[in-house]
């Protein structure tokens, strides 16, 4: 061991593979393919949102003006920062600096949680402003404009699905951080940090697409 606090880095070979290079390649590729399917899942929602913009431009603009642009923009910045800290964690894991890596992972989880809190606050404001048309008992701010209702509902479906991914992401990240803090973890499972990082960057990327499609276009 060269320096204090630096642990050896490696991957434990599973029996179906012949060598660790093959195993790393397979794991990375598996995650990329999973993310492609996730992208297509969201693509269905993006498609519907864009079709609505074409078929009902006025109603969509009216609805989009009610969305909280600044909360969305702040959240975009937060997620980009969290991707930066996640990249830091990956770099440190490659170097074997386990303590630093754990701190960067915790920072990532905190930024992700901050996003969820802000998003929750935004939902509360939407509720107060009567922008929740799928609650049939509550009157709707833009009553009479049915196509806008549709767009607001889609906004909840899309941000809800993204939020679900983020909550899952933060939960997995916390469990992973706990495991990764154990001595010798980097020697056995260093590539899990990298693979998880791909997923985290992906959640960030999806938000970077969601934000302009829902909040910015036609504004």
């Amino acid at each position: 061991m060269s320096a204090v606090g630096v642990s050896p880095v490696g991957v434990e070979l599973r029996e179906q593979f012949n060598n660790t290079a093959q195993q790393r390649h397979a794991a990375t590729m598996g995650m990329f393919i999973w993310l492609i399917t996730e992208l297509l899942l969201f693509a269905g929602l993006f498609l519907v949102a864009l079709i609505l913009r074409i078929t009902h431009p006025a109603s969509v603009t009216a609805a989009a003006k009610h969305f909280k642009f600044w909360i969305g923009a702040t959240n975009t910045a937060i997620l980009i920062c969290s991707s930066l800290t996640m990249s830091g964690a990956i770099e440190l894991s490659r170097l074997g600096w386990q303590r630093g890596m754990v701190r960067f992972m915790l920072a990532t989880a905190s930024l992700g949680s901050l996003f969820i809190v802000l998003k929750g606050y935004e939902y509360v404001v939407d509720w107060q402003e009567h922008m929740v048309p799928f609650f049939l008992d509550r009157s709707y701010a833009l009553a009479g404009d049915s196509a806008s209702e549709l767009f607001v509902n889609l906004y909840f479906a899309t941000t809800g699905l993204h939020g679900l991914h983020l909550i899952t992401g933060v939960s997995i990240l916390l469990v992973l951080t706990r495991q990764a803090a154990a001595p010798g973890y980097l020697q056995r499972h260093q590539n899990r940090i990298e693979i998880y990082g791909l997923y985290w960057h992906f959640i960030d990327l999806i938000w970077i697409i969601v934000f302009p499609i829902l909040y910015v276009l036609n504004r």
């Binding site: 029996e15 179906q16 593979f17 012949n18 093959q22 390649h25 397979a26 590729m29 598996g30 393919i33 999973w34 492609i36 399917t37 996730e38 992208l39 297509l40 899942l41 969201f42 693509a43 269905g44 929602l45 498609l47 519907v48 079709i51 609505l52 078929t55 009902h56 109603s59 799928f134 049939l136 049915s146 196509a147 209702e149 549709l150 509902n153 889609l154 909840f156 479906a157």
Partner: protein
Amino acid sequence: MSPLDSTIRDAATAQPTIGRPKDYLHEKSTLASWFFTIDHKRIALLYLASITGFFVIGAFAAGLIRLALVVPNGQIFSNDTYNKLFTIHGVVMVWFYMIPSIPTTLGNFLIPLMIGAKDLAFPKLNLTSWYIFMGGSLFTLFTVLVGGVDTGWTFYAPFSTTFSNTWVIPALIGVIIVGFSSILTGLNFVVTIHTMRAPGMTWFRMPIFVWTHYAVSLIFLLATPVITIALSLLVLERGFGIGVFDPALGGDPVLFEHLFWFYSHPAVYIMVLPGMGVISEIVPAFSQKKLFGYRFIAYASISLASLTFFVWGHHMFVNGQSEMASISFSVLSFAVAVPSAVKVYNWTATIYRGSLRLDTPMLYAMGYIGLFVIGGLTGLFLATLSIDEHVHDTYFVVAHFHYIMVGGTVLAFLGGLHFWWPKMTGRMYNEAWGRVGALLIFLGFNVTFFPQFLLGYLGMPRRYHQYPPEFQLLNILSSAGSTILAVGYFFPMIYLVWSLWFGKRASANPWEAKGLEWSTSSPPPTHNFLAEPVVDFEPYDYPIKARERV
């Protein structure tokens, strides 16, 4: 019989029985060793048992449908019961039998063996996807049997969102869950084929079976997420009225059809492509001849998988899409015939001047080729706009897709099951019974479905259980055929199970076939090969070659 190449390429078959490791079936025998196994071969058998169960349920519903259609006045079942019956038949057969059938059983079993790997890249994920499949499918089965659903397997809006009074939401949730199982299986296959090939196993040395499964996995990965989100929006629509498919809010029910068929047309190729892979293995083995046009068949598989994403509109010719869109989709649908025909011609050219043996797998393969041609050609009728206007939503369509799905997928599945049965179980089935079963299925299938072409052409609509009395004769003929078909299906179910205990022991390569899977013992040991195989031969290296001139 032609001179046979007896070179032994793997140590497994040369080793004496003593000292050889136990095969995967006998290594452990506890119940837990089956339900928590991560061996791809055992998981394949778990899938085989499950989808056979679903097949029996779906076939039983089909039998009841044919029973109801014996009389024209629809007195045997009420309208509601009839609607629920064809929904059970469609949902169970499409989602829980056809789509998983060949990939999860034969594909799961054979892909690692064929490329010389110890297992799939993610064995635990493989087991997880079986559990997801069982969870989702049993839940849906409970829903359609206890509550009943009357939307058909297509779940069209606005009927499914607004008007149906049945258990649509639980059925949708079950189907969505099963979709994740498909995605994970496809992911596992793609990564395995990319990263786990043995030394020397280049892309163009892979058997066509592996190529077609690669193509199918791409469809699983690219199409399934779209149906997941479309069905999720349907759930939200029915549950909360979010309005995406509701014209009252400015939504569009046709949008659901677009999203649905963007998945469900490729899903047809999920059902057909693996069958093509099976046939491409059986035909050379029973002709003892090198597969004709190997590269063309490989390319045709990938081009089918690509083209299939651009033809979904041919399901919607009469549903209000623009004329321009319809013409484009019609032209693209014709294009699909090209790679399909490439395959058929190549199989035929392989048989030509081969050294033929008409054993059970080859009978199924020959049946497949004939029925696939009929199904494919009638597909061209339907891709023609003017004819489709006439026969849309009639029994002509029903007959067409049964020729592709039953004549194609089911025959290929059964052919493949017989072909690899010795490898999977280490036992031979009874050949005479096998041939009788294959002939009965072929006969019964044609008697059942050919009259439906005539009925459809004369104008009998699908999904109705009352019809004018002049159609009764053809309907009775079709129902009579379905009983022959049912008897035919009983044959393999009985003699295959019987062979598990009483069948003759199989050698490593009972068909004198080529390919890595035949070089290891039958049944294979847990990690497939005793030593990692090295591939230094071309695919389909059979004794008879095509003449080397154009």
